[in-house]
Symmetry: C2
Subunit: 179 residues, 2 copies
């Protein structure tokens, strides 16, 4: 599938509601469980997505569109840990929805042309990337973290399913953490 | 985490709305893409979950509660392929929500005791399982297929992200299909 701006926005606009349905009011065993040390709980996933709204995707797109050198800042994967200590999951879900809505309004407002989507930026680890690739990565990043939240919840029941483990691949995905 | 009936129902009741937010009105490249031959699209995932409501989880629980021999029928993973040819995704999402709501009403109505949750059934491949394990597997099965729908959507953009692939583990999960 080729990159398509409208189809990308259609996924990006859904993510806050998907996470709200999965997580709003969920008890701590679901919301705060992890896959092991240094891995994200569903609560952490929402915090990490907020960090992306504030520091990553649209700020990087802005840098590319400014047509300067466009060297991205690294994405701090643990910024949310300190930032959200003491916050409720409900307030994070609300905040994520507000930030995402504003960022999509910004994105739509740019009315990007194919030539603009080809503009380059410089990723600290990956080197040259285009605006089109950045926006595709934003979509994939969302979907990867939705999958992660569901997987992490599922793993809380790994013992409870007893002999069903081999029939439930989600329970043995990422036994060595990959994200 | 130990099995908990209320916490299980809380996940099960969310799944139709999660999938609705992810998929209702989604264009075919998102809804009908797969990870390769014999793998499920998000459309197929909803059909497979409907099959589970009609033929698997509650029917198996009923068999266990009848305290007979409780030998489960195998879960036909491809029943939905023929059943739903020509159906719209919206109508499948509605049907899944209706079936799930009715099945949760049945489950709540049983007011299961700890002793009932320990009752055994006989799985065609896994052997002896308890009602408690069956209900835990229902929860994990939902979450695994939510993760799968998100992963399959993400993979449609595997080429579009360009150099980002190694930073997006969801794009390289299940390179050999596992479910």
């Amino acid at each position: 599938m080729e990159f398509d701006l409208e189809l990308s926005i259609d996924v990006l606009r859904r993510t806050p509601a998907v996470l709200r349905e999965m997580l709003l009011g969920a008890a701590d065993p679901w919301a705060r469980g992890t896959e092991g040390p240094e891995t994200f709980s569903p609560f952490d996933v929402v915090g990490h997505l907020i960090d992306g709204e504030e520091t990553d995707w649209v700020p990087r797109a802005r840098l590319i569109l400014a047509r300067g050198e466009a060297r991205f800042e690294p994405y701090d994967r643990f910024r949310h840990k300190g930032r959200n200590a003491g916050r409720s999951l409900g307030s994070l879900l609300d905040e994520f929805a507000r930030l995402r809505e504003a960022n999509l309004e910004t994105l739509r407002g740019w009315r990007l042309t194919a030539a603009e989507l080809d503009l380059p930026g410089h990723h600290p680890a990956l080197g040259r990337v285009t605006l089109r690739q950045l926006l595709a990565a934003w979509v994939v990043h969302d979907l990867g973290h939705i999958a992660q939240a569901a997987r992490v919840m599922a793993k809380q029941y790994k013992d409870a399913v007893g002999p069903w483990v081999p029939f439930m691949p989600v329970l043995t995905d990422h036994e060595v953490p990959r994200s």
